[in-house]
């Protein structure tokens, strides 16, 4: 199980953006969703998650709004901006190319 801090920073960004593409979420929800969808393989630590979220927000790919969580607690919800949607598509395409190339090199014939 690779620790999430080993992940390249850009990959974590991709995970977060893809998760937010489905619906706006708070930080806890994002971490949960990534864990569930990856079958418990990718567990994002808070120490990586929140800096990433704030960085993405500073760069304008996502925006934050305070709202009410499922159990009526005050939480900060993140959502994709239109530019973020475009950026996500770009990064997905990039990831696909990169991972296919790595696969070609690493896998045995």
């Amino acid at each position: 199980m690779a620790k999430p801090t080993d992940l390249v920073q850009g990959t974590l960004d991709l995970l977060i953006l893809r998760t937010l593409a489905l619906q706006p979420m708070h930080g806890w929800g994002i971490a949960q969703r990534i864990r569930q969808v990856s079958n418990e393989v990718l567990q994002v630590h808070q120490g990586a998650l929140y800096p990433a979220l704030h960085r993405l927000e500073q760069q304008g790919w996502i925006r934050a709004k305070w709202g009410e969580s499922e159990n009526n607690r005050r939480a900060k919800f993140y959502s994709l901006t239109p530019d973020g949607v475009k950026y996500l598509r770009q990064e997905q395409a990039q990831w696909k190319r990169l991972s296919q190339a790595i696969n070609l090199v690493v896998s045995e014939a």
């Binding site: 930080g27 808070q46 500073q58 969580s69 900060k76």
Partner: protein, 883 residues
């Protein structure tokens, strides 16, 4: 839009404490969710908490990591620069105040004159679609004459010929009427406009009350109708709406008021000032003969171009019509071409060159102010070299230092701009008050365009000054100061070189301003002392108009005038008095074309233009016009026996070259009468700035209804105004008297614009000279301080004080001399540009140039003397010890 999102986020992070608490809340939420999950997984409260906190990691680290993503934003660093700039400026208040004041002086003048240019020259006229409005004049191509008044006969033909290309209206120059609102009341003399019925419709002006003229009212036989200007309606009728339908009396004739015009409406042009109080239909006011002649030119026309028609097209079409007219009607007075210009040009083209000249002068002053402040900043930065060097060594980038300098100079120029706007408002009020004669002067104020210009000027100045002050900053030289030893502390060559260049530029601009001011001033003085042809001291004039109603017979008019002269001549203090239709210096007064029956056809036989005046026999003696040949009118030469004339010397020389005009005749074609020439008199000017024109004088008794009384006294003629008016009052209680002024006042009014221009530019030149002198002093003082060591060494090695004095003086004068030469070269070009404003002097008047050179050298030497003197007085021991 991403940048907008970024900006929003960045602005949010500025609110530091808020962002911190938000982050804490966010992390706390995450922790609470983890605890809840742990509880749901079956742990007890205590354990759930412990596990959650443990898995969370070190809270502070998480917080710091997250906070580190909050970047230094451009907004935040700009604010930091701003605060740093303010703090450093407040540490040297003297410098900051001086700089701000100097910039304010430059900006204030610039903004004020721009406001004038905007409102007078640039802003479109307030009429409907004003770009389609043109004023039409005639020309006489064979005589190369342009912009002449038109005749009514041609106007009607034009209207018939071009009814699709344009709508035309006929306009007469304003006349004077005596207005009374009640019968029998003492009338007030006002200006009245005579226009075609469609004049207001053409301009697109709607009356606020009543309606404009309709076509039936614009005829000789129609009942008399009048429209009031808003100012008259408020002043004499207290804005009473029931004025419509009531009657007013103009020259003792009743007119029905049919409309009131809006308060913003003012008609200003070359042949019409903006003081018209009432409007009457032109055909109702004008004799039928004048309305249909081709030979008497008293009017001009207004045209609104139809869409798609250009002005040039219209002029060409009308010229073709005019040529047909000329072919059909022989007569030397019929014109042969048509021209015109836009209504805006008609109103303001006379002011274009003077205003642009003054604007350029304020631009020069602003430039000098910027150079001055830039130079000051260079000196100030020189004192901070070590600080800059240390910061560079610690990692500050060059852009960072440049930005700080720019912020500082923009702060200075903003301060200067704020105070400059105050200066500008004051200047504008003064200007509007002084130049009431200028067309469109009432609309001058600081509107949004001017405010925008002010902001742009502030930013430009800030950048310009900032760029000057950073000129010498480059990375290589930045670290130099750290290596300097305190002994060898001399000014860096590039820095002093820069300041010297700035100074030379300042001096150059100052020279240009001084030359311009000198030329304008000399021109104004020349104008002011021009001879009108008669001695203009202690001469009083006043005008009156005998209304038709009471003086409809020539005998009555003659009797009144004679009685008036008797009464006025008897007033104590009056030396002489005379009557004339238009006094010298008081305007064109009307002209006619004459022909000389005795001359064979050819030159000097027909189509000769003369100014026409009517005078009483004693006028020439009263005015002081010498009778060079022949005699004045005899007493019996009046009424029906008045076909004698005197001509001016210029007329005699031009039309009767080499022959004696006495005994010959002239024929005024438009009047169809022949006159005998009985005398030749001296020339007088009709206005001070134009050369004298051939003039013809006929007897006044019985022939005219309005005249000017000219009174000469040995001293203090103004005091005679009241006694003379009471003489007139005794003779006719209801006769108004207007425009009582001395000839000296008339001249002063005519030269008002020349006086204004020259004094204004002179003021700017003086300010520029002071700034340049201050700059010169500053640079030399700085140089002396920098070279204290060197001077100390020199003195210690035996240099005389006088030698040091001379050395320093020359050092300071060198940039001034360079500036002088460059400035003189520039002045030559500038003098050519303002040639149209100069009167009676050479464009390259040597007196002015010499005076400027002398003044500049004197001031420069004076400015340099103090630092040079101080340098020569240096104690060598002190100097060598300075670090």
């Amino acid at each position: 839009m991403r940048w907008l999102q970024k900006l929003r986020t960045q602005l949010a992070t500025l609110r530091r404490s808020r962002a911190d608490s938000d982050l804490d809340a966010e992390l706390r939420f995450h922790l609470d969710q983890q605890i809840a999950e742990n509880l749901a997984a079956g742990m007890n409260a205590e354990e759930a908490r412990r596990v959650a906190i443990h898995s969370f990691g070190h809270l502070t680290t998480v917080r710091e990591e997250t906070r580190s993503t909050w970047s230094w934003t451009s907004v935040e660093s700009f604010f930091r620069d701003l605060v740093a700039g303010l703090r450093s400026l407040s540490r040297s208040p003297g410098f900051a105040c001086t700089a701000i004041l100097v910039i304010a002086l430059g900006l204030g003048g610039n903004i004020a004159i721009f406001a004038v240019i905007r409102s007078v020259l640039l802003k479109p006229l307030p009429f409907h679609d004003p770009s389609r409005l043109v004023v039409l004049y005639q020309g006489q191509q064979k005589d190369h004459e342009v912009n002449l008044p038109i005749d009514a006969g041609s106007f009607w033909e034009w209207q018939r010929a071009i009814n699709n290309s344009a709508e035309l209206a006929l306009v007469a120059p304003p006349g004077q009427y005596g207005l009374s609102t009640r019968g029998g009341e003492l009338p007030e003399m006002i200006d009245a406009g005579c226009v075609s019925w469609n004049f207001f419709h053409l301009l697109g002006v709607q009356p606020v009350l009543g309606h404009t003229f309709n076509q039936t009212e614009d005829s000789l036989s129609a009942p008399a109708t009048v429209m009031l200007a808003d100012s008259l309606w408020r002043r004499r009728f207290n804005a009473d709406p029931s004025v419509i339908g009531s009657q007013i009396w103009l020259d003792a004739r009743p007119y029905t008021v049919i409309g009131v015009l809006p308060s913003w409406f003012k008609y200003e042009g070359k042949m019409a000032g903006g003081r018209i109080q009432v409007w009457v239909p032109i055909q109702h006011e004008t004799a039928a003969s004048l309305m249909h002649t081709y030979e008497d030119h008293e009017f001009f026309a207004l045209a609104r171009l139809a869409p798609g028609i250009s002005a040039t097209l219209l002029y060409n079409q009308l010229t073709a019509v005019q040529l047909q007219i000329k072919a059909a009607h022989t007569g030397p007075a019929v014109r042969d071409s048509v021209m015109g210009h836009s209504l805006l040009d008609d109103a303001v083209s006379d002011y274009r060159t003077p205003l642009l000249t003054i604007f350029a002068a304020t631009g020069c002053v602003l430039l000098i102010a910027c150079l001055n402040v830039g130079s000051l900043l260079v000196a100030r930065n020189a004192a901070r070299r070590k600080e800059l060097a240390i910061r560079t060594a610690l990692g500050a980038g060059r852009m960072r230092l440049l930005r700080e300098r720019l912020v500082e100079s923009i702060l200075l120029s903003s301060g200067g701009g704020l105070i400059g706007i105050l200066f500008a408002s004051a200047a504008i009020s003064w200007l509007v008050h002084t130049r009431q004669d200028m067309n469109r002067v009432d609309g001058i104020h600081i509107d949004p365009t001017v405010a925008l210009f002010a902001v742009a000027a502030v930013v430009l100045c800030g950048f310009f000054i900032g760029l000057i002050s950073v000129w010498v900053i480059n990375s290589k030289s930045l670290l130099g100061p750290l290596q300097e030893s305190s002994r060898g502390n001399s000014a860096s060559a590039s820095r002093t070189g820069l300041r010297r260049t700035l100074l030379a530029a300042e001096v150059g601009l100052t020279v240009i301003l001084l030359v311009g001011a000198g030329l304008l001033l000399k021109s104004y003085l020349r104008l002011r002392t021009t001879d009108l042809g008669i001695s203009s001291d202690n001469v009083l004039t006043m005008q009156f108009n005998l209304p038709e109603v009471r003086y409809n017979k020539s005998v009555q008019k003659a009797a009144f005038m004679e009685e008036l002269l008797r009464g006025v001549r008897a007033v104590p203090g009056v030396q002489t008095a005379g009557l004339i239709t238009t006094a010298p210096g008081q305007g064109w007064g009307g002209d006619f074309l004459i022909s000389v029956p005795e001359h064979p056809p050819g030159a000097n036989s027909a189509g000769l233009d003369v100014l026409v005046r009517a005078a009483d026999p004693g006028y020439f003696a009263a005015a002081g016009i010498p009778i060079l040949r022949g005699r004045t009118f005899a007493s019996r030469e009046r009424l029906d026996h008045a076909d004698v004339v005197l001509i001016s010397r210029k007329a005699a020389n031009r039309f009767f070259f080499n022959e004696d005009p006495l005994g010959k005749h002239v024929r005024i074609d438009a009047m169809g009468k022949v006159f005998l020439i009985i005398g030749v008199v001296g020339d007088t000017r009709w206005t001070i700035s134009q050369p004298d024109h051939p003039t013809l004088y006929m007897p006044i008794f019985g022939n005219v209804s309005s005249a000017t009384l000219l009174v000469r006294s040995s001293r203090n003629v103004e005091a005679l105004s009241i006694p003379i008016q009471s003489v007139i009052n005794t003779m006719d209680r209801d006769l108004p008297v207007a425009y009582a002024e001395t000839l000296r006042e008339t001249i002063e009014k005519s030269v008002l614009s020349a006086e204004f221009n020259s004094l204004l530019v002179l003021g700017f030149a003086v300010v520029a000279l002071l700034l340049a002198a201050a700059g010169l002093y500053g640079v030399l003082a700085y140089l002396v301080t920098q070279r204290t060591n060197e001077i100390g060494v020199r003195v210690a090695l035996g240099a005389q004080r006088a030698q040091i004095l001379r050395l320093t003086l020359l050092d300071g004068l060198r940039p001034a001399l360079v500036g002088l030469i460059v400035g003189l070269a520039g002045s030559v070009a500038v003098a050519k540009l303002i040639r149209s404003l100069l009167y009676g002097i050479e464009t390259y008047d040597s007196t002015v140039f010499l005076a400027v050179i002398t003044i500049l050298l004197a001031v420069a030497t004076l400015a340099c003397t103090i630092p040079a003197w101080r340098a020569s007085r240096l104690d060598p021991l002190q100097a060598l010890r300075m670090e």
